[in-house]
Amino acid sequence: MSAEGGHAAGSHERSHPTVRQYVLIGLLLTVITIVELAASYTPGLGVLLIPILMVLSGIKFVIVVAYFMHLRFEKALLTRLFVFGFVLAGAILISLLALFWGDPAVINR
């Protein structure tokens, strides 16, 4: 619909970020990446490292999807469509790993 493409900012309840905000978001993403790197080089985090990394990259993921991909500013329908696939992919991935990592039958690999 032209209202969507033509007047990007006009037809939405929340207005898109400005150039400045986009750059700031980019900076934020960079900072998070640096923190991730630092965490992975920090000895002694042990098992904590994995959840830390997961949360940080999850935050990055959400930021890109919400702001760069404008999902935050679109109708909820698009979010639902995408999240459905994403959650399913995650669920299948986790159950697959659970099936393999708890598998006693493997004798050589």
């Binding site: 039958a105 493997v106 004798i107 690999r109």
Partner: protein, 366 residues
Amino acid sequence: MRLDRVHTRRLPLAAAVLLTGLVLAACSDPLSTIEPKSDATQTVQNVYVIVFWLAAVVFVGVLGATLILSIWFRERPGRVASQFHGNTRLEIVWTLLPVVILVAIFIPTATAIVDLEPDPDDLPPGTVHVEAIGHQWWFEFRYPDLGIVTANEMHVPVDRPVYVTLRSEDVIHSFWIPQLVGKVDMVPGRENAVIFTPNEARDEAYLGQCVEFCGTSHANMRFRVFVDGQADFDAWVEAQLAPPVAAETLSELAQEGAALFQNPILALGVTPCVGCHTVKGTPAVGLIGPDLTHVASRSTLFAGIRDGFASSEDPERVQRELERWISDPDDIKPGVTVRENGMPAWGEHLTSEQITALVAYLRELQ
């Protein structure tokens, strides 16, 4: 209308015939899945009976309802369809009803899964341990505690737990003796296991077969299980452990065959017999093909698809088939020369006299 006449006559009768057919059809068939002869298959059967009768009730109910509604509400002069969109109470009922049925199925199912699961660290006392190894297209059976290696034929004592570990040398096979134990796959790179206690000794063999598609001759990959009384089993073990036939007791022709069998360069560029087969006490120590130390004592040949010397009424016929096998095995079991580590077609390399001599030798490997 034609529909109701045809239906009313056919369906109830058909349903009755089919249901009883389902119960009776398989009884006394050698591979029957509903004639349990071990604790393991009995456990399955106990679940099956519950599920079967529940299924039968649903079958009759739904098909009957379909039939009755179709007849009752068919178009007739003056009939007007009542316009309604649903009935919430009814819909809740027929959502919950299946749930109840499924719970009734699930509880025995879950119990049976746990019951059937072997625990390798806590095997019952007196367990016989067998290693079953799938090959394209035959089964190898090893008894690690007894030192026996055989092929396509398993002997177990009655009323003692049998623990079978399952492996594969090549592709995925599946191990199944319908009357003794449900199927579990033999997966390369993995080790699975089953445990069962046969409860009926008999002369007739229990039939088993590969049930996971494993290539050209999947259909020709079968085996037999003999459930013996303890004394018979001990005798079998003793026979298997007995030293193989001494060379000097062989007939003249068989000695000629033995020489051929043990010749390390039987034909140029072709792996000789000894490259693949083992006959204990001889230079033949190959590990690729079946162990032939006591091949003539087996009831079948070529993985359960033909009678062997020990069971056939007509040993000459077995002799001829074995000659045909050595000469062109694909003729009996398609694909066997083509697959990796396959049996060569010796007809291209040996004279028929030589093959006759070879078979004469094998025939004396009691």
